[in-house]
Subunit: 323 residues, 2 copies
């Protein structure tokens, strides 16, 4: 494995990260703690906290309080997942039942609100206005991205630029902020903080694009239903390429079914196969590579320490991800 | 009118407060602006922003940027109203249709998230960690209060202490923070900031208790359906007193109907009449008076300037409020 060092480091960092998440859960009102623990345990690879820790260490920050800062982006991420699951009326999340199917809608919404509030409080507790500004920017940008995505839902005329704007908000900005928080806490120069932010933002863009490509991979490989984005009315890059390649008659039929949310599982599977045959998913991965190249360039301006190599391996991981 | 000076000042402050709210709405993602404007226009007396402005001016702060800070608590309040309306599945709010009946659930939830994020960003923009801490504490406490309230819903064994804890969270903390933000921005001493916070917290407690008493006033006086709290399963002080006065047989019937959410409008109206006859609502207003006395005491330690008198009139207004 090319990213063996990264995996080893993740194994070392996971216990303090998970301990900080549990401390954060303890800080929530008792009734919503089970909801928070459920969404924390439902997984996630803890990439966001790991990025905060790696960025801070890369810039020479050695204190243990970094873990309490690192989990704030995971908490914000969890809050958005809780609200999203309710809004999408999703039945499962990462193979586990969606929170609101276990806990009902009200505690799920309120757990999201409480997580956001607690993350905000953790950041404010560091007493550094730059951290608070970074956090509030991340919440604003993420909310804006999700709103844009919902406006674009089931629309066939979403442009590539609009798609990028959605992804920058709903996914990339949190990853950007994860790196930026670590850099700011480490006392980075403005140039270093900007480089860390650029690395995170471009890594995040690539992460989502690879995700969008993987949506069309066979369920036997990913463990997730194929073509979920077709059924949810998300015109991601592989699907936009697919639609552009359709003859007029087929396109009219696609637009009608997509626009009305009438795509079945069978429709989605058939479209996924044609997307793979045409290589639209691979094309999207190549586009993601361009973002990863920008991310790696940003790293070059940061100190030559072991964490920099791990952050390069993170870019490889995002590129090579098969599920 | 005893509070004529307060009304005159409110008339002067409303335009810049509403202008700041409109600037804040402009800062939201375009799709949710109508939801935010709806909830802003649905009213509210702008007590929270007014308190921030009055507290800052009382402590000698003269700059116009206070309005952008002052509206953050109104935005947070609006965000909680949006989420609450969805959770309660309310059909109206302050006599206007509830936002989610006009805009659907998804934009309503996301407008709440976006308002919270934007308020957070406004506060962070001031670059003062004490303001950010105050803001994050307000969001945490408010979320905690709402969660407690939902846990207590339809329970007949909610104690007076638990009720106070709910009110402190769901209502008083935002009013407390409104005053505290104004004091902190004005460069208050720790003692002054604590006095401003104590004034706000106790004013907020009284405000909610008077509200709970008014819930049992005739609809012809308040314009709101009588006994809404009975039907929503909220054991507010007048209702707790009423229940304690019931003979065993009646109490068993009350507990069953209240606990299962089976109270009708007629039940609520009949209970309200008995509550008024027994004076339980007046008793609650007397308990609110005790909080107002504490609020006035806190004011005594602050400078003797015109705003202090206005803040006393605010306490009178809360006491005398008839709807």
């Amino acid at each position: 494995m090319a990213n063996i060092l990264l995996k080893a480091r993740l194994a070392l960092e996971l216990p303090p990260i998970n301990a900080a998440l549990e401390r954060a859960a303890q800080g929530l009102p008792e009734p919503v703690r089970p909801v928070a623990r459920h969404i924390f345990e439902a997984g996630g690879k803890r990439l966001r906290p790991l990025l905060t820790v790696l960025t801070a260490r890369l810039l020479g920050y050695e204190r243990a309080d970094i873990y309490d800062l690192a989990v704030t982006m995971e908490m914000l991420h969890a809050a958005t997942l809780l609200h999203d699951d309710v809004l999408d009326n999703a039945v499962s999340r990462r193979g586990k039942p969606a929170a609101h199917t276990l806990f009902e809608v009200t505690p799920t919404i309120l757990a999201g609100d409480a997580l956001l509030a607690e993350a905000n409080a953790l950041v404010a507790g560091f007493g550094d206005p730059r951290l608070s500004l970074c956090f509030s920017e991340a919440t604003s940008r993420t909310a804006a991205g999700e709103i844009l995505e919902i406006v674009a839902q089931r629309r066939v005329d979403t442009s590539a630029a609009e798609y990028e704007e959605i992804v920058r908000g709903k996914t990339a900005w949190l990853i950007r902020a994860s790196c930026q928080l670590g850099a700011l806490r480490a006392g980075a120069t403005d140039a270093q903080a900007a480089a860390a932010a650029a690395y995170g933002e471009n890594l995040g863009m690539a992460f989502q694009m690879v995700d969008d490509a993987l949506d069309f991979a066979p369920e036997s490989l990913t463990g997730k239903p194929t073509g979920g984005d077709v059924r949810e009315g998300k015109l991601t890059p592989p699907l936009r390429l697919y639609r552009l390649g359709l003859e007029q008659e087929e396109r009219v039929a696609f637009d009608a079914a997509f626009g009305c949310g009438l795509m079945t599982e069978n429709d989605a599977a058939a479209i996924a196969e044609r997307i793979r045959d045409a290589g639209h998913d691979q094309r999207t991965r190549l586009d993601a590579d361009a973002y990863l190249a920008t991310a790696r360039d940003a790293l070059d301006t940061l100190p030559d320490r072991p964490e920099r190599e791990l952050m390069r391996q993170m870019a490889d991981y995002v590129r090579d991800r098969k599920k």
